[in-house]
């Protein structure tokens, strides 16, 4: 007879308040508080002059002022728009290249070594060429973001596509699916958990490349504000922007990628339900 199904347990914590959902964040907050405490302590010991090591409160003040003046929101918006556009282009191009190199094995064998080599190529090393080709422009910043992440995206997308069990493709072809239909209905959903991991890898490459390029040649954006702080020896601004960059990284990674990844894996039963 038909056996009973193990139904995924519902989240019973829901009724006991939303606080429970944030319990797992406590260790992270403790580390942050301890770090700020240690910083404050070092500051008070006067090991370094305040202009070289500002206090946490000075940094907070600098961030607050930057926010009020509108410089920080503008910088964040400019940087995130570049990141969004650049990363999206890199995802699309990477997906096409990955698909071609998996589907046409000879083509794959031809480009694979270069993709892997360019993946480890430091994105900063693209900057001189970029400046000559595109000047101090938005296009230049986008170009560095794209070339800085494209090869990592391509390599990990290709790996993801290779994880698709051939029997799924066989079964789908047998039921009449082929061409684009097969790709969209079977290959992509079958590889989805790995594709998401690949996108996460790609985004971190894009993020690092963009900030690096912004420090060198942007006139608006987080990298620019960071560099400007250093030029005027405003270390509270430098450290403040560094914290903003860190926070954006954590939020995008934890809040978006890790969450979607986990959700997909849980639906597939790749990790146990909570």
């Amino acid at each position: 007879m038909v056996e009973p199904v193990k139904t995924p347990p519902v989240n019973r914590d829901r009724e006991s308040g939303i606080w429970r959902n944030y319990l797992h964040l406590i260790p992270m907050v403790v580390v942050a508080v301890a770090f700020v405490g240690l910083w404050e302590l070092v500051f008070r010991l006067q090991i370094r002059p305040p202009y070289l090591l500002p206090s946490p409160s000075t940094v907070a003040r600098a961030l607050y002022d930057l926010w009020i003046s509108g410089a920080l929101p503008r910088a964040i918006a400019a940087t995130l728009v570049r990141l969004g556009v650049g990363f999206l282009i890199s995802l699309v191009l990477g997906a096409i290249l990955a698909f071609l190199s998996v589907h046409f094995t000879t083509f794959g064998k031809g480009i694979q070594p270069y993709i892997l080599g360019l993946q480890t190529f430091p994105s900063i090393a693209w900057v001189p060429l970029t400046l000559i080709w595109f000047g101090f422009s938005e296009t230049g910043l986008l170009f560095v973001t794209i070339v800085g992440s494209l090869f990592a995206v391509t390599a990990s997308f290709a790996d993801a596509l290779r994880t698709v069990p051939p029997v799924y493709l066989k079964a789908a072809r047998n039921m009449g699916s082929d061409g684009m239909d097969l790709i969209l209905r079977v290959t992509v959903p079958a590889a989805l958990p790995h594709l998401l991991t690949a996108a996460k890898v790609g985004w971190s490459f894009a993020w690092r490349s963009l900030i690096g390029a912004e420090i060198i040649f942007a006139t608006v954006g987080l990298g620019f504000v960071l560099n400007e702080g250093a030029a005027y020896l405003l270390l509270s601004q430098v450290i403040g922007v560094m914290i903003v960059i860190l926070v954006i990284g954590v939020v995008v990674d934890r809040g978006f990628f890790s969450r979607t990844e986990e959700w997909t894996r849980r639906r597939r039963g790749l990790i146990p339900s909570r």
């Binding site: 072809r173 009449g176 959903p189 639906r267």
Partner: protein
Amino acid sequence: MKGAALKLVMVGKRFKGDTEPTEALRDINLQIGEGEFVTIVGPSGCGKSTLLNIVAGLEEPTTGWVEMDGHRVHGPGADRIVVFQDGAVFPWLDVWGNISFGLRVAGVRRSEREARVDEYIRMVQLENFPHARVHELSGGMKQRVALARALVLRPRVLLMDEPFAALDVQTREEMQSVVQDLWLRSGTTTLFVTHDVREAAVLGGRIVVLSQRPGTVSAVLTNNAPRPRTLENPEVVEQIRRSNEILKAEVQWSNQSKRPL
């Protein structure tokens, strides 16, 4: 037997091996009548799965050809649906989504699709779990989904490639009776490949015994035991004994002939 629905003519298959080519199948001739249930049994590595893939059009034969209703078969088609050993049930879809997959590909209208999925989900007794995800299903339930997903397309021929080999004995016997019931109700022409002689005898109206590699037809046994059958049925027991004899003789003969001089 009514007219032959499926005809295999001198089908042979060679693979280009790493060192030397291997011959998987040689000169297979078979005629399968409309509504017949034929089981193919043979030792592992005799090329029986290859034979099924050729009928499905997922592999091309090196020699010979396959005919459906008098027309030669080229490539896969929804008129010949395979149930694979591990089911190949898609983990990104739920039970309902899996069963309706082929109908969506075929572009069947939504209302008709729903009615048909509804009919077949009941037939395999999974109507209480339409939204269960694949990882929540037991091995037997996965094969029920695979069966419904195949039958809902109303194929001319149902091809089963050792579908229950990975199941425990109890579930396997349960699934055998499910398949037998479905066949008695639908009358779908079925070609069922297995290495299990007992399974071949309990299900097959005819039992095709294949030899060791290269696979050739050693014997075709007619099995008229009344249905629904169980493994205890004396006629089934007799068929198992006869099939086993042929297989043993075949293995001994081929071992002798392969012995170095």
